[in-house]
């Protein structure tokens, strides 16, 4: 018989993400991991600018309002000055990989010992679905109305692979949400990433391929199918790097 699971006590209310959006699931996974690791009262979450701005007053934990894309820098000093605190930077792909590319990469480059969760939905969701560096070739967005022309704008960016191959960080993985099994796997990645931080191994990052039905112009179900058929072949799932705990 299926067992019901309690909502983590640090989630105060429902967050009005669009129907079929992946953010709600990922926030829930993040809060479950924090609770299960025993960090409910020793945690700071870096909130970005973007759809996750909707998290205002939704979580009963210290939540830092970052400048757009810059939480890689702000989480750096918070973690260095409070090394025993669990520090988690929750960011969209536009925030972390476009405007905040420098801060994201430099934090990983320095192997700062905090955890990044990036929600890759292939566009700028909050501002109306403009092209992101993660948008697929040919993808129609508000700023690529004839489909993304990769001759002019480059191929979609795979930041987790860049970090894993270039920098001496602790943990890098990519998950998704299109089946309960994938959700469970993604949770295990997030938990391992936080554990790597707790163990002091180093920087950790988990990217989650997440549906954006509103801006993709698809139903929630068709959005999940798009992830399976179009995104996963280009953004492979699984652990990319795992240095292991102490």
């Amino acid at each position: 018989m299926a067992k019901g699971k309690k909502v983590p006590e640090k989630i105060l209310r429902q967050v009005p993400f669009c129907p079929g959006c992946g953010h709600g699931i990922i926030v829930r996974l993040m809060m479950e991991c924090i609770e299960e690791l025993g960090y409910n009262d020793n945690v700071l979450i870096g909130k970005p600018v973007g759809c996750a701005s909707l998290l205002d007053n939704a979580l009963a934990v210290d939540t830092f309002t970052g400048a757009h894309g810059r939480n890689g820098a702000s989480m750096t000093t918070i973690k260095r000055l409070k090394p025993d605190m669990l520090v988690v930077s929750y960011q969209g792909d536009g925030d972390a990989y476009n405007i905040g590319f420098s801060e994201t990469m430099n934090a990983a480059y320095r192997n700062e010992k905090f955890t990044v969760i990036t929600i890759n939905n292939g566009n700028f969701g909050m501002t109306g679905g403009q092209m992101a560096w993660t948008s697929m070739p040919g993808q129609v967005t508000a700023t690529s109305v004839n489909g993304r022309n990769v001759e002019l704008s480059g191929m979609p960016i795979r930041v987790p692979e860049m970090i894993a191959s270039s920098f001496d960080t602790a943990y890098v993985a990519r998950g998704s949400l299109f089946t309960p099994a994938e959700i469970k796997k993604t949770k295990s990645y997030i938990k391992k990433a936080m554990q790597a931080q707790i163990d002091g191994v180093g920087h950790s990052l988990v990217e989650v391929l997440s549906p954006c039905p509103t801006n993709w112009g698809l139903t929630p179900l068709a959005s999940m199918e798009r992830i399976v058929n179009e995104l996963v072949p280009y953004f492979p799932l699984g652990e990319i790097k795992n240095k292991g705990g102490k």
Partner: protein
């Protein structure tokens, strides 16, 4: 008499003494010695130091450090401070304290490596988007730089406001004797994030009632304006001409005024130490029959001059002409300032306001 110390190094040591927990910065001439010194001295004193990838990243590090209640310092110069402005305005919106040193270089864009005062307007008006103001303090000696950096951390915490030390390349690079204040160990401020959600939801900057917060901010700015005006004045009570100069030009003009007064000339100086709030109270002692105000600045255009004219009007000197002496990059030459002053007195120069 204390040790001979370079201005930049003295300011770094003053920050350590003031209880600074962390320095975040990126090198730029002529401010680099602040961070070169702190790169080893912070560690020696049990504090922290980070070299960021650029000035903007350094400021977002400052933003994070301030959010957990630490005493945090950054330093840069001219265009480097321009790069920090997004972080500065975010910090203003969050009411976070920090100290930022601008060892100013002359000019627009890349500017030059020579000493200058061309950043007055940006520092005193806020610099980024929005309504905020930074407290701006400007020293004219190495000793005063030490004292103001030491004070800046306390003011920053008292008002939960960024304090800018606006100094010049010449002061950062010169050596003078100075005494250091005592060493302080300061705990993290208790209003800040502690990981325990002690202070409840910290509203995002979009979620707060911005107008209500703006009114509260105005009250804060009024308190700063009332309490934190600082200046040095000489000879203004009987002066026919009052010169305004801050920083290095301030000390040059002090010397000129001293010399002229010995010759019996009725001339005075106001040397603002706080640039925001501008020391408008200094006007209260000025001779009511003064013939002119003269702003001497190492800048192409009269930046402080606008404040001189503005507060002259407010203080009942609205009909007194305001002149500008534009000193070229570097340390003003007494002879150059004197010649320009004589030309103003002789009616050969038109007032600006």
């Amino acid at each position: 008499m204390g040790d001979m110390v370079k201005g930049n190094i003295a300011m770094g040591e003053a920050a350590i003494r003031a209880g600074m927990h962390i320095y975040c910065g990126y090198p730029i001439t002529p401010s680099s010695e602040v961070m070169e010194y702190l790169s080893w001295r912070a560690q020696e004193a049990g504090r922290q130091f980070i070299q960021a990838a650029n000035e903007g990243e350094a400021m977002y590090m400052v933003y994070g450090a301030a959010s957990i209640g630490s005493r945090v310092l950054t330093a840069s110069s001219g265009l480097g401070i321009s790069l920090k402005q997004e972080g500065v305005t975010y910090m203003a919106a969050a009411d976070y304290p920090a100290v930022m040193i601008n060892v100013c270089r002359y000019g627009d864009g890349l500017g030059s490596l020579e000493s200058g005062q061309t950043d007055y307007k940006r520092e005193t008006r806020g610099g980024g988007n929005g309504d905020y103001r930074n407290i701006v303090l400007s020293p004219s000696t190495v000793q005063e730089a030490v004292d103001l950096v030491y004070l800046a951390f306390d003011l920053s915490e008292k008002y939960r406001n960024i304090v800018v030390i606006l100094t010049e390349g010449a002061l950062g690079q010169m050596m003078e004797d100075c005494d250091y204040p005592p060493m302080k160990e300061v705990p993290y401020y208790d209003w800040a994030f502690d990981g325990k959600y002690t202070h409840g939801p910290y509203p995002s900057q979009m979620a707060v009632d911005l107008h209500a917060k703006g009114i509260k901010n105005n009250e804060k700015r009024a308190a700063i304006t009332e309490n934190e005006q600082r200046w040095e004045a000489v000879g203004v009570e009987d002066a026919e001409y009052v010169l305004f100069a801050y920083g290095i030009p301030g000390r040059v003009v002090l010397g000129i005024v001293d010399e002229l007064r010995k010759k019996g000339e009725k001339v005075g100086i106001i040397r603002p130490i706080s640039l925001w709030p501008f020391p408008q109270k200094a006007f209260d002692s000025i001779n009511k029959n003064v013939k002119g105000f003269i702003s001497v600045e190492t800048a192409d255009s009269g930046q402080m001059l606008e404040d001189v004219a503005l507060y002259a009007k407010k203080k009942g000197f609205g009909n007194v002409p305001c002149y500008f002496i534009s000193s070229p990059p570097g340390v003003p030459k007494s002879k150059f300032v004197l010649e320009n002053f004589e030309a103003i007195k002789a009616g050969k120069v038109k007032e600006v306001f």
